[in-house]
């Protein structure tokens, strides 16, 4: 079992189509997208605003449902076709398998940084509460925020909040980290700091998928795909 999934790509998107229904009619946000994400790579998804980057991410984080096609995630234990899971199983699966980071941090404002980082461990029941506390502090230490561990999110800067979000994404030690424009609302120096953090994580063997509209970052990914009007291009090499 272990050997069978090991040889497969971590995430496979097959003929994924996503249409949005709106007053104006049907809007095709993704048009027949095929993409494999391999273990250990630092994949950049690059495109202009409105190209469909977030939509694409949402397809394999299970945050939004696809219209047709299939998304298969092969983790160590099993192969899972995402649309076969219901919202509830999806939430548990996502908590254990994916660390998701958003441009707007999405921390819970009433919890301290440490508690925010502990939350995924609490939700997924993977760690004993005492252990999860230790782990949260370790992760905060890693993102250099150990001194602020007991502050509320509103008391720290945006860059710091994003580092807490990264620590939180790592909490359950998921096989893949997914980030939607994580540096979008940060100044360039802070953004660079975050990016370096990602690079360190990739070096330590993690898989990261990151969405950005910044073409300048292109060379720093181990691989990138470009998206425009819901279609991928310059993808010939691997496919």
């Amino acid at each position: 079992m272990t050997t069978t999934t090991e040889s497969l790509p971590l995430i496979e998107l097959r003929n994924v189509v996503k249409n949005y229904q709106s007053e104006a009619g049907v809007f095709p946000a993704l048009k027949n997208v095929n993409l494999n994400i391999e273990r250990g790579e630092f994949l950049g998804i690059i495109g202009k605003s409105g190209a469909g980057k977030s939509t694409l991410l949402n397809m394999f984080t299970g945050v939004d449902a696809l219209t047709s096609g299939e998304v298969i995630v092969n983790t160590n234990e099993e192969s899972i076709s995402l649309h076969s899971l219901n919202e509830n199983d999806l939430a548990l699966w996502r908590g254990r398998t994916m660390g998701v980071i958003y441009q707007s941090f999405q921390l819970l404002p009433m919890l301290t940084l440490a508690q925010n980082v502990m939350m995924p461990m609490d939700m997924s029941d993977l760690y004993h509460p005492r252990k999860s506390r230790e782990r949260a502090l370790e992760l905060l230490d890693m993102v250099e925020l150990i001194d602020h561990a007991h502050k509320l999110p509103s008391l720290i800067s945006g860059g710091q909040q994003q580092r807490v979000a990264i620590a939180r994404a790592l909490a359950n030690d998921p096989p893949v980290i997914v980030a939607d424009e994580p540096t979008g609302s940060l100044d360039s120096i802070t953004a660079d700091h975050i990016f370096k953090l990602f690079e360190r994580l990739v070096q330590s063997g993690r898989t990261i998928v990151m969405v950005t509209h910044d073409k300048g970052l292109m060379p720093r990914f181990s691989r990138h795909v470009e998206i425009a009007d819901g279609e991928l291009f310059s993808e010939a090499d691997r496919k």
Partner: protein, 810 residues
């Protein structure tokens, strides 16, 4: 603490004002429900027990004088448990130095210590009167001022005047209760009889039955047999009365109060449920993003539900901590208030388990049901929507169609504004914003309107019901149109009295009436009830009846009568033209019922027959004991003056006057219990109005809380404090005005409903509903005041927000 519980705790304690708002909105309703349910139970339990504790007689016989030996015969009679004989006679009394006489029935009790039935409850002074002392029933104090230690002047039948010493005040919940039209009571011992020139014989029997003390049919069987036996011994029995041991005589009025309480309780459950639902859904809408984030990082529905379950239960428990003890106190206070007004005592403070259970049900269940709607909605929203924040607006409440309807509303509004502008009417911008805001959250608006409208409709209807009841009592007054009723001890020629009376230039018209008591019989010949037969001259203008069916009595009617609606209790299918078995003057006869009219049933069954027939039947043609006199003016004060003057005038001319009563006083007892009810209804109206405006206040502060960001933006582009406050105030006022308009309509069915509850309980018949502008007027003012008050605090807190606070993230 695990982070999930830490979050719940923070939700609970971080924003104290918000938590307080939620807790209070639950507590208000739960408190009101506790008060109502508790008072309901306490009153219905204690009323009958406290009444029964005085061991009221099941049977009362008014009869010829009899002695101790005969009493013993009655005591031994089959089915009789206890029997006491008393002597009752009528006197007139007044405090020394006063001019106004009060008619009083004096009851002689042989042995106050061995007294077994119709027990007295001492209120003040001595419990047992000595020779030449008198105890007054508390009702006497309504007619004159007297206290233990005072001396009264007493006028006897022969007009001689004696003085007597007031020993104490007592309450007699049983004796006076059977006969509303009887004068108030006083008590003396046998020693004092001589002072009043009365013999030492009895003329009344008060007895209890052995079994079936709450079974009217059984009491009636015992009574009929006893009466037969007494009559066989050649004693004449006048009127008889039956009452049940556990049935308080004012039960009908109390039942009306309880019926209203019940209606109010149901209403309050609805109102507070909608208030709770409103507050919680507003609160939880703000939590949608949190739910999204938790689902993003692996939170399953089960965990999230559990967290919110704990949060909601905590709100409920906090509310219960406030509302249950306060509600218990309130319940007892309300019960005490009603008991005092109705003249019975409570068995003591206690926790009412059923009220407690209802409170817990409402306090916990309603928040759970109301709160879980938004939580379930929230967990159904995809994470993506929750996170992207595109549900900050209407989408969460309205679903997909929300945006559409919103734009349609805007289109209508735009159109309306343009049309108005074309005619030169400009709606100011802030007003436009308020208008838009009002309709932004339709679900919440509907709930708020529901609460406030229910409150308003109740308020308005209470005033309508009040007028309806008064109007009805007034129409019953049409049976007593005379200004003064003059009763004599002996019959006089009608022409003689007429001649004397007309010598007073203020008297315009005199009628002599006949009176007869009769028994209504069941088809098998047993007595069903008494009927008082009044016999005005045919065509009398002093009765203006409210006919239900048939016609009024006419000249020439023989063995024909009209009878009040109370007859339906005995003969439910009786119609005009049917024959009714009656026992008149000891003879069993069959009378034709020519008509049925409305009357206050608690005053007993009343019948009318023509004077000519009744007086001849009694061998008293052209004679009468009782006269109806019309005077020049008809107000209460004038009537009282005339009653006093005529009384003195006839006495001075050697007539044996028993009593002269002003016409409008006839309905005093009916009007009195109505006043109790109405003050009650008013309390109820205010309560619903308060709950309604609490709902509005909650909505307004939720609206403001939710719009902090928007208010910040308005500030950033230069909106002044005044502008922001006005915006919020106008919104609240707008809701108030809309609810007023809706309330006008809702008040119609409410008025009919409340009138029905009250009138069927008190008058045992539905009555014609009357509407009055008064309730509408007062509510219009009140709703404007309340909605302004409800919006002032939220408006001020909106204006106090600084731009930085508002625009800072979260």
């Amino acid at each position: 603490m695990r982070p999930r519980w830490r979050k719940v705790l923070s939700d609970l304690i971080d924003n104290k004002a918000r938590t307080l708002l939620v807790v209070l909105s639950i507590a208000v309703g739960v408190f009101a429900i506790g008060v109502i349910a508790g008072a309901y139970v306490i009153i219905s339990e204690d009323m009958s027990v406290s009444y029964a504790s005085n061991n009221p007689a099941n049977i009362e016989l008014r009869m010829d004088d009899f002695d101790e030996d005969f009493l013993n015969t009655i005591r031994k009679f089959d089915g009789i448990k206890e029997a006491e004989a008393r002597r009752v006679f009528n006197i007139r009394a007044r405090p020394l130095g006063k001019t106004q006489w009060t008619s009083i029935d004096v009851i002689t009790i042989e042995d106050f210590e061995e007294n077994e039935v119709n027990l007295l409850t001492p209120l003040s002074g001595k419990e047992i009167p000595l020779k030449n002392e008198i105890l007054l029933e508390q009702d006497v104090l309504e007619k004159m001022d007297a206290a233990p230690g005072d001396t009264l002047e007493v006028q006897l039948r022969d007009d001689s005047i004696k003085t007597i010493y007031v020993a104490g005040i007592v309450q007699d919940s049983s004796t006076g209760a059977v006969d509303f039209l009887a004068p108030p009571l006083a008590y003396i011992s046998t020693d004092t009889l001589r002072l009043f020139d009365q013999g030492e014989l009895f003329n009344r029997v008060f007895a209890t039955v052995e079994t079936g003390q709450d079974d009217d049919a059984h009491i009636n069987i015992v009574l009929s047999a006893l009466k037969e036996k007494i009559e066989k011994n050649d004693y004449e029995v006048g009127r008889t009365f039956r009452s049940l041991t556990h049935q308080h005589p004012l039960e009908t009025t109390i039942n009306a109060v309880l019926g209203i309480l019940m209606a109010l309780g149901v209403l309050i459950v609805f109102l507070s449920s909608s208030l709770i639902a409103n507050t919680l859904s507003a609160l939880l809408t703000q939590h949608l993003r949190h739910i999204g984030v938790m689902k993003l990082i692996g939170g399953r529905d089960k965990i999230i539900f559990k967290m919110y379950l704990v949060l909601l239960v905590s709100f409920g428990v906090l509310a219960l901590l406030i509302a249950v003890p306060a509600g218990g106190q309130g319940a007892y206070g309300l019960a005490q208030f009603i008991a005092t007004m109705m003249g019975f005592s409570l068995l003591g403070y206690r926790i009412v388990p059923s009220a407690f259970i209802i409170q817990i049900m409402v306090g916990l269940l309603v928040p759970l049901v109301a709160g879980f709607m938004p939580v379930i909605n929230g967990s159904r929203v995809t994470v993506q929507k929750a996170i992207s924040g595109d549900l900050a607006g209407e989408s969460s409440e309205q679903g997909e169609g929300g945006a559409n309807r919103e734009s349609r509303f805007e289109a209508i509004q735009f159109q309306a504004t343009r049309i108005l502008a074309d005619r030169g009417i400009r709606i100011k911008r802030p007003l436009l914003i308020s208008l838009r805001n009002t309709f932004r959250r339709r679900g919440r608006l509907i709930l708020t309107l529901f609460t406030l409208t229910m409150g308003g409709a109740t308020f308005i209807s209470v005033f309508n019901v009040r007028v309806t009841l008064h109007e009805y009592v007034e129409s019953v007054g049409n049976y007593f149109l005379a200004d003064v009723t003059l009763d004599f001890d002996t019959p006089y020629r009608v022409s003689e009295i007429e001649q004397f009376a007309m010598q007073d230039p203020r008297v315009t018209y005199v009628e002599g009436w006949a009176f007869s008591g009769a028994d209504i019989l069941y088809p098998d010949g047993t007595t069903a009830d008494n009927v008082s037969l009044l016999a005005p001259p045919a065509g009398s203008s002093l009765v203006d009846p409210l006919m239900v069916s048939g016609r009024w009595v006419q000249a020439g009617d023989k063995k024909k009568l009209t009878i009040s609606e109370g007859i339906y209790d005995l003969y439910p299918n009786l119609q005009a033209g049917d024959y009714l078995p009656l026992k008149v003057n000891g003879k069993e006869e069959s009378w034709e019922v020519v008509g049925i009219f409305k009357f206050i049933n608690m005053e007993g069954i009343l019948g009318y027959a023509p004077y000519d027939y009744i007086s001849r039947d009694q061998n008293m043609a052209n004679l009468s004991f009782s006269y109806r006199i019309v005077t020049e003016e008809h107000d209460r004060a004038y009537q009282e003056m005339m009653a006093e003057d005529l009384d003195a005038y006839f006495r001075d001319n050697g007539f044996h006057v028993q009593e002269a009563t002003p016409g409008l006083s006839t309905l005093d007892s009916a009007a009195e219990s109505l006043d109790i009810l109405i003050s009650f209804l008013l309390i109820m109206a205010l309560l619903t109005a308060v709950v309604g405006s609490m709902g509005l206040a909650g909505t307004m502060s939720m609206n403001v809380l939710e719009r902090t960001r928007e208010i910040g933006i308005m500030r950033a582009i230069g909106a002044t404090d005044i502008r922001i406050i006005t915006m919020v105030l106008v919104e609240g006022l707008l809701i108030g005005i809309i609810s007023f308009i809706l309330g006008i309509f809702l008040a119609v069915p409410f008025t009919y409903g409340f009138s029905w509850i009250v009138s069927t309980a008190i008058f045992e018949t539905p009555i014609d509903v009357v509407f009055t502008p008064m309730g509408y007027g007062i509510w219009a003012g009140l709703v404007i005041l309340l909605s302004t008050l409800a919006s002032v605090l939220p408006a001020r807190s909106a204006a106090r927000l600084t731009i930085r606070e508002v625009l800072a993230y979260e």
